[in-house]
Amino acid sequence: MALLEIKNLHVSVGDREILKGITLTLNGGEVHAIMGPNGTGKSTLSNVIAGREGYTVTQGEVLLDGKDVFAMAADERARAGIFLAFQYPVEIPGVSTSSFLKTAINAKRRAEGHKEIDAMEFLKLVKAKTKELGMADDMIKRPLNVGFSGGEKKRAEVLQMTLLEPRVAILDETDSGLDIDALKVVSDGVNALRSKDRAFLVITHYQRLLDYIVPDHVHVLVNGRIAVSGGKELALELEAEGYAKYQGAAA
């Protein structure tokens, strides 16, 4: 069975239709990249899958392991294994990154019927992962995302993904704002998580990322529709030619 199936998804905000029939199947082990001009609905797609409020699904469905995602609250979806690395990570003043991480890990563990993570075990785990991601040790003591640089915020998203081990990870422009070294570190983090029972949906504007995280499929989202799908070479072509050709076709 497919891990995540998006079938003929139509989504509106107010009177305006933003997604106009998206169909996409993510199987275990696959990495799908979504590219497309600004404002075409990439974040909308991520948000709707993750369960953000304010969107109206007018048609279609999304299934996780065959189960209706729209029947679940946002936190249930998360505990079922949907993870969204936010395009704009949110600041939570006064809440240390480590206590946020612990709360998130424990929410998942409880749902799975495990007991809460041991404090020592948690520290060891987080230390190891922050090191892998090239994050400073004292980072986890700071309030989550407060005063983090753009790149630090993105790393913190990947850290969370690594710790929560999702089944479907959606990365919404996680590469934006990363320097070359960070891009490599973050990509290594993603690649380390690639496995046959996990799928990735990677949203990006830059084909460069796809040199590091090599996708199985590339989709071009234009005007709320997938204008074209292809392999990795499609990203290279887009880089050279831009979206003009598809914008015409999609309209």
Partner: protein, 483 residues
């Protein structure tokens, strides 16, 4: 279990007020109402010396003169209190027991339900506990150890007999009987409370703690606490309370007086979660408290921390009179109001001595239809050269039907003084909530986490074991406040 029929009928509310239950220990109570006879009865019950009775009667007569002039400047609305319709004395059957074995097992059961088993607390936390159940202390522990160090920690009714010179000297010296309507009432009818004296030069090695319970129907609670830190001493005192689920409003008018002499330091922490009333605003405790500290000595220091989550009405301004040169006062407050709760709380920092410093950090959280007011006064006297104050008031709103207000008063009579005031008002954002929920947290966990973050600066001033309890309370008291 001794859950009454009415409470059983409102299971849902009990769910919301997790500590709601009523114990049925029989009370030995005075008839309803207030009169000289009742005051004589209370005094006689306590076997008080003449000077105590005189003090009470003086206060009572003054209170009569005040008529029904309750203070009305706070932003609080509640029906008129009928002072003749309350009981002013209730005592558990047995009193002043030597060991826990003698304590009414039902009382111990009550503490268990509250999650504060005395025995465990003693052993694990090394906390000395003076438990006030209704109006009379029934269990005093760790007394021996403290006694050896010269610490006096006992019910104030006992201190009246054992240390009359200290009580005479200090009782009413910070909050005089004529201070305000509720303090006057308290001076007339107070039944018990804690007395603490820390001798010169001693850093009291354990936290002193009192758990107050209001348990007898229609029994106004009038605790009286007096803490004296002699020169160069230090003490940390914890006050925590939680009350049973009930229907009628209960009046509570406590008075707390702190005195810090030269180089002495007192840290006074409160977690208050009395019954706040139901979701419609029925019932709940009326909490009119006068708490004041006199930093009498040079370099003395008092730090108030309060976490106010309960009560239908909170009227409370723990204050510091900074008399001694270089003395300092700090006030850290979290006040949470949900449903129809109202809180008007803050502090007064009265700078009299030179180089006196004060710091005020107030975090108000308002949800449902609640109203939350910070009211604070910083007064710098003419002789308070180089006085400094820093005030920060942050309000957090949850939903759009609640209110938050900040009313700072600053009066400066000395040109060398410096005061700073910062205030913010914010809302829990949808973005924050969604972010947390996307990480698997329930709505309630998310609210609790975000609000705890907002309050962190205050909560981290609490002693460790109290901080954990307070963090949980913050979550519990806001359950059902979002979505």
């Amino acid at each position: 279990m001794a859950v009454t029929r009415e409470t059983a009928a409102t299971v849902k509310e009990i769910e919301q007020y997790k500590y709601g239950f009523v114990t049925d220990i029989e009370s030995d109570k005075a008839p309803k109402g207030l009169s000289e006879d009742i005051i004589r009865f209370i005094s006689a019950k306590k076997n008080e010396p003449e000077w105590m009775l005189e003090g009470r009667l003086k206060a009572y007569r003054y209170w009569l003169e005040l008529g029904d002039q309750e203070p009305d400047w706070a932003k609080l609305h509640y029906p008129k209190i009928d002072y003749q319709d309350a009981y002013y004395y209730a005592a558990p059957k047995k009193a002043a027991l030597a060991s826990l074995d003698e304590v009414d097992p039902k009382l111990l059961e009550t503490y268990k339900k509250l999650g504060i088993p005395l025995l465990e607390q003693q052993m694990l936390a090394g906390v000395a506990v003076d438990a006030v159940f209704d109006s009379v202390s029934v269990a005093t522990t760790y007394k021996k150890k403290l006694e050896e160090m010269g610490v006096i920690f006992m019910p104030i009714s006992e201190a009246v007999h054992k240390h009359p010179e200290l009580v005479k000297k200090y009782l009413g010296s910070v909050v005089p009987y004529s201070d305000n309507f509720f303090a006057t009432l308290n001076a007339a009818v107070f039944t018990d409370g804690s007395f603490v004296y820390i001798p010169k030069g001693l850093r009291c090695p354990m936290e002193l703690s009192t758990y107050f319970r209001i348990n007898e129907k229609n029994t106004g609670q009038f605790e009286r606490t007096l803490i004296i830190a002699d020169e160069g001493s230090y003490v940390s005192y914890l006050e925590g309370c939680t009350a049973p689920q009930r229907d009628e409003n209960q009046l509570h008018a406590a008075v707390v007086e702190l005195i810090a002499l030269d180089d002495a330091e007192i840290k006074y922490s409160t977690v208050q979660n009395w019954y706040p009333g139901d979701a419609q605003g029925r019932g709940g405790i009326y909490n009119f408290v006068t708490k004041r500290a006199a930093c009498r000595g040079r370099n003395s220091k008092v730090m108030w921390t309060q976490v106010e989550t309960g009560s239908a009405i909170t009227w409370k301004y723990p204050s510091c009179i900074l008399q001694g040169d270089n003395s300092s006062g700090e006030f850290y407050s979290v006040a949470i109001t949900n449903n129809h709760q109202q809180a008007d709380t803050g502090t007064k920092m009265i700078h009299l001595g030179k180089n006196t410093k004060s710091k005020i950090i107030s975090k108000g959280i308002s949800a449902g239809h609640a109203d939350n007011t910070y009211r604070g006064l910083v007064r710098i006297g003419a002789k308070a050269d180089n006085a400094r104050n820093y005030t920060q008031c942050d309000s957090l709103l949850i939903g759009s039907t609640c209110g938050a207000h900040t009313v700072p008063y600053i009066e400066t009579k000395n040109p060398t003084a410096r005061t700073e005031h910062e205030a913010t008002t914010s809302k829990i954002s949808e973005d924050q909530l969604f972010y947390c929920r996307q990480r698997g947290m329930t709505q309630e966990e998310a609210v609790s986490l975000i609000v705890n973050g907002f309050c962190k600066e205050v909560l981290q001033t609490l002693p460790m074991e109290f901080a954990v309890e307070a963090q949980k309370l913050v979550g519990i008291s806001l359950e059902g406040s979002v979505g």
